[in-house]
Amino acid sequence: MERITRRELLKRGSIAGAGVAIGSSLGKKGFAEEKGEKISLPKIVERSRESNLERMEKDLQRALQKPQHERHWVYVIDVKKCVGCAACIAACQTENRTPPGVVYRPVIHEELGKYPNVTRRHIPRLCNQCDNPPCTPVCPVDATYKRADGIVVMDYDRCIGCRYCATACPYNSRLFDFGEFYARGKGFFPIMPYENVPTYEYKVSWKRHKGRSPVGNVRKCHFCLHRIERGLLPQCLVTCLGAVNYFGDSNDRKSLVSELISKSNVMRLKEELGTKPQVYYLL
């Protein structure tokens, strides 16, 4: 490596600094939301190459430039890399403030083989946001539906809590909020302050009260919709130690996920049922 003089360094640094200043002031705005809301997207920070976070954030911001119906979100999980630490479960529960019994992405732990040829495999199971969902036709009040960008969403205000969708899901991805709190009811504990923090699912603030949504509703993974529409990747993805997860827009041929899902080592859960799940597993 050549030696640079202090003058050279200052010159290069100021040019780079000016470039960054101009670039960020131009600022990419996310595309108009349903209500014409304009958001400012976060700045992309360079990180280690293996995690692909930079690339996925760029993919995400590029996708947000398009109107909602032109995006198609998919999730990819590299099963070989998952060590079964369950940090993603904790992250999801923290992000979405889910109550006891509501866990959007449990991780299935398998032990395979017979000694001495044994191995372990860990498979997280999210809501697959199926392209042909078995859960949406059965809702008697049309409280759950597939959005144009592929996410199957819940209308918390309309759901009557009949749990027909929960029985119809072949993956048991849908959870019911029974109205329980972690500390309450076990001895003399009141509801703890951390349980009163509202959750921002579907970009609306929800605080859990007895009898009011989301208590008494069916809840499920929504790919952290409130985060991705602000240019942030899903919480489970950014938390994962092993960079197991990938997320992006499969309509975008240049995105990372489009490359990954076109490989031959790709598997989806219960494909034979015809649900067309959009969570892909790399074996």
């Binding site: 479960i89 449990p106 009040v141 409280a143 009949c162 048991n172 009898g211 049922l273």
Partner: protein
């Protein structure tokens, strides 16, 4: 003697009804956490009772069509009893599913945001149409009696009967009364005929609610809604046999013949039901696909094996068949057989709903996360028991009250339709 027995039942159902209402209020205030359901076990006792009572209702109604549409006049004295049972059973079924909702007070959304692709949404519409038909048919059959009772009653009861009679004026001459009676029977025939596809839609549809769920292999078959219908006919015939044997007028000369006739129909429907269940069982066992086999194993050998063996096989099949073979000349015994069927079919319904959730559809999901509201096992909580028995008591209480007030069993010719 019968009146004394009914008084005791009124007291019993009244007390347990009041306790039950208290439990229901507790459930409405505290929400679904009073149950022991979980996210992976979303449906349990209340849904089982919902399908049970819908089946009882449709079965009783279809039984009444034997009389009013297909002309089996010898059973006519049990006709109104069948329609009253159909009405009260439907109310019970609807109250059970209402109680099971996460947001019970949002039930009106089903009408405001009706989703044409949901079998459950169609069912709610069918239930409404069906209630209208049942009530209309009852009115036509009872209007003359209600008019007479209104005319001959003092002030308080006069208002009650008058309200039910909906302004029916008792005709003066005998010929007019006869032609009004025939008009009633024609109306009952028409309404009964309209009611047949409705009742099949009501209960076959309830079966379809389960049958279209491809996620649960135990339910996902064409025979499932048909089994629902045959079980409904069995439970309806069983209820009719039981109710007529104990509420019918034993003094009437054709009483034993009617009870025997009702029991004959019960055994016929039971035979058809048994054939279908054997078919379902044998075909599944032959295929030996792990998921459906695991559910049958759970049912037959699992921790709740007695629901299958004592309830489904014993009470619903063996007891009525044995009674019919050896004791069919005794109306009391046949009534007991009917009661046994009515209780046994509860076990049939429990086994339709609950074992399907006992195994995980995605392997090892049951060990993936440890939480009381995530487990794949279920036993109804105390609140579920008390609310269920309480709700049944309330409906039974009102059934008995109306039995006292109205001529549900047509006995003498004094009040004649």
């Amino acid at each position: 003697m019968k009146n004394r027995a009914i008084n005791w039942f009124l007291l019993l159902t009244g007390i347990s009804g009041i306790i039950g209402v208290g439990a229901i209020v507790y459930r409405l205030v505290e929400g679904m956490k009073v149950t022991s359901l979980t996210s992976n076990f979303p449906w349990g006792m209340w849904i089982s009772y919902y399908i049970y009572f819908i089946g009882l209702s449709a079965g009783s109604f279809l039984f009444s069509t034997l009389i009013y549409v297909f002309g089996r006049r010898e059973l006519e004295k049990a006709g109104r009893l069948a329609l009253f049972s159909a009405f009260f059973a439907l109310v019970a079924g609807l109250l059970f599913i209402w109680m099971d909702l996460g947001h019970p007070w949002r039930f009106l959304y089903v009408f405001a945001h009706w989703n044409y692709s949901s079998v459950l949404a169609w069912e709610i519409l069918f239930y409404l149409g069906y209630i209208v038909v049942v009530l209309a048919e009852l009115w036509y059959l009872m209007r003359a009696d209600l008019g007479l009772m209104r005319d001959e009653s003092s002030a308080g009861k006069r208002a009650f009967y008058g309200a039910l009679a909906l302004g029916w004026k008792t005709p003066g001459t005998k010929e007019e009364r006869e032609s009004a009676r025939q008009g009633s029977m024609r109306a009952a025939a028409v309404l009964g005929a309209i009611g047949i596809p409705l009742a099949i839609g009501v209960h076959g549809g309830t079966g379809a609610v389960f049958a279209v769920v491809k996620a649960r292999p135990h339910w996902y078959s064409a025979i499932f809604p048909i089994i629902f219908l045959t079980s409904a006919l069995v439970s309806g015939a069983g209820l009719m046999t039981f109710l007529y044997a104990f509420l019918g007028d034993k003094g009437e000369s054709d009483y034993p013949r009617i009870v025997r006739s009702l029991a004959d129909w019960l055994i016929l429907f039971l035979a058809i039901d048994i054939i279908l269940i054997i078919a379902e069982f044998l075909v599944t066992v032959y295929g030996n696909i792990p998921e459906p086999i695991a559910i049958w194993k759970e049912m037959i050998f699992g921790p709740y094996w007695f629901v299958f063996w004592v309830g489904q096989i014993g009470l619903a099949m063996l007891v009525p068949i044995l009674i019919y073979l050896f004791k069919r000349n005794s109306s009391t015994w046949l009534g007991i057989g009917g009661l046994s069927v009515v209780m046994g079919i509860v076990a049939v319904r429990l086994n339709l709903v609950i074992p399907a959730f006992a195994t995980s559809p995605v392997p090892l999901l049951d060990k993936a996360f440890h939480d009381a509201r995530f487990v794949f096992s279920y036993f109804p909580s105390l609140t579920e028991w008390v609310t269920s028995l309480g709700l049944i008591s309330v409906v039974a209480f009102f059934f008995l009250v109306f039995y006292r007030l109205l001529p549900m069993v047509r006995t003498s010719e004094e009040y004649s339709v």
